[in-house]
């Protein structure tokens, strides 16, 4: 980023997709107004932006799209605070601002030639979608060995990206384990159980494997020991964190864990790194 790092690039909402049955999650497809801004915007899955609505504020959102999907960005947004509530009521064609890319990314270079296990829970699957799409792209697929996805939500209607998940199910170059906490649908063809339990059942071989983990704190808490018991080294358990942010560039002072800022030193950390830091996140 050159110039003023606080100045958002103007962008237009091109499409809004309602993701979940409770309508609390929507995906916003966003296109830069100025072509040059889009061309200069290069990122890797795991990074985030500050998405800005004039008059409401800015929020950090991880890119749900992969850099292999050209010409737009996707942000999947949970309706939670002032900005996201407003965003949920916006329409296609409305103007937003996008500032980024910010933060670090999943350790793509280190993961080359390795197995990758993607573990997500609830609406925290956004940058994990980006990561999976990125790895499954024909240009990238051969860079990685086995790819496994474990993804769960409270109920079938709360899973994000349902159509894509079903497409992945059909592919033979990725193993997908979908799960829900509970369902009253007798036709539900996938797993029932919490993400840590399904991870324990399905993920046994950890040789040369990385795990990318993103989810609510309770899921992270119970998945970590499962992975460690399965033999994953803390250096290879990769966790993407959330934190309240304002500037996104390591200056405003609120998103620190010890001497690290989640916005610039993260949002992606290895468990080994987190074990060295104060447990305050």
């Amino acid at each position: 980023m050159s110039g003023n790092p606080y100045l958002p690039y103007p962008a237009r909402i091109e499409q809004i997709i309602t993701e979940t049955e409770d309508k609390s999650l929507r995906t916003f497809k966003v296109v830069f107004l100025n072509k040059a801004d889009g061309e200069g915007f290069t990122f890797l899955p795991g990074q985030f932006c500050e998405v800005s609505i004039a008059g409401k504020g800015e929020i950090p959102l991880g890119m749900a799209s992969s850099p292999t999907e050209k010409g737009f960005l996707l942000f999947t947004v949970n309706k939670a605070g002032v900005v996201t509530r407003y965003l949920h009521n916006m329409r296609e064609g409305d103007i937003v601002g996008v500032r980024g890319p910010l933060g670090n990314w999943y350790p793509w270079e280190k993961m080359e030639g390795k197995n990758v296990v993607v573990i997500g829970g609830g609406f925290a699957f956004t940058t994990l979608r980006a990561a999976t799409i990125y790895m499954l792209h024909p240009e990238n697929r051969k860079r990685f060995r086995g790819i496994t996805v474990v993804y769960g939500a409270r109920s079938p209607g709360l899973l994000l990206y349902r159509e894509e998940l079903e497409q992945w199910e059909k592919r033979d170059d990725v193993n997908v384990h979908l799960t829900v906490d509970a369902t009253d649908d007798p036709e539900w063809p996938y797993n029932v159980g919490f993400v840590p339990a399904i991870t324990e059942q399905k993920i046994t071989a950890c040789d040369d494997s990385y795990a990318l983990v993103c989810g609510p704190p309770i899921m992270l808490k119970f998945t970590q020991p499962v992975l460690e018991n399965a033999g994953f080294e803390p250096e290879r358990i990769i966790i993407s964190l959330e934190m309240r942010m304002k500037c996104g560039i390591g200056m405003c002072g609120r998103c620190n864990i010890g001497d690290k800022y989640v916005c610039t030193d993260g949002p992606v950390f290895s468990l080994a790194q987190l074990n060295e830091l104060p447990q305050e996140y």
């Binding site: 800005s52 004039a54 309240r244 609120r254 060295e276």
Partner: protein, 349 residues
Amino acid sequence: MTCPMTDKIFKKREFGGFLRALKKTYEVLVPFKEQGFYRFKPIADGEGADLRFTNTRLSPKSFVLPQSERMFEFTVDEKIEDAHILKEATRAYPPTAIVGIRPCDAKAMRLVDVNFNNPEFRDPWWVTRLNSITLVGLGCTEPCSTCFCTSVNCGPFHEEGLDVLLFDLEEYLLARPLTEKGKGLLQSGGVERDADEGSRNKAHKLRREAEQRITRHVPTDKLAQKNVNDLFDAPFWDDVAFACINCGTCTFLCPTCWCFDIQDEVIRAEGDRIRNWDSCMFPLFTLHASGHNPRAEKVQRVRQRFMHKLKYYVDKHKNGVACVGCGRCVRYCPVNIDIREVFRLMNEL
């Protein structure tokens, strides 16, 4: 030919004339007494400055990082083509001189500068404003009881961050230029006479005596080597935080506290994006939209303030502690929380 950075000297009663001369080139800020407390204010015509202060109650940080500052402006009027697109607010950065700043407050600006001006990102407003300011320090001949600058790589005549350092030799002021900017300021102020050796010796003596007058020594030597989690999990935090009422006075007054918030404000169809000072003492500082708060408890917030200054900053910037020993937080804390005691607890854990 004179050496480029020669000490200069002028009569104290010429100080008013010096300020008036500076006013032709600079906006001049000087300490004034107002409602019982000193603060820096722009000098008005015909006024002098009052240099009989120990320090101002508010640190002069607001002249580089305003308490409230417009970042961008925008309109939400749909009839206008650029509606909802943020534009940089126009602003001026006139050359400004802060005359009489204490050395601790100048050093604080250097400590904060590493946050706003780093290899990855540059805060354009901080950087431009700091560049536009010339700092004319006034050495402290009578440090107060809460000063502990000599313990934290600072001192009553510390030069770091200053452009000029003034020594109060009673009848005369000795002016030591420290940077090209400072040299230029002295020229603008008409200060041309070189100091004689006798005056320079007096200045040296003044500095030594002032340093000796600061008797309170605060230990800091072991902070860098300490394990961060040992300090974080130390048993003393509950006691340190017990009386705290989370009022935020310490962060408000501290010359090295820089945390800020960003908010949008709209009146009718015209809006501004504004940044305001914020404080780690407030629970909202870290509250997530989900309701989760990593520092929901008072003790966590008090610990954050001290850990940031005395450990996280030390580890991150390898630049010493983020404290200059000005003693404001000690003096104005309504419940007498004393950072000098926290230094000791942390250093001696």
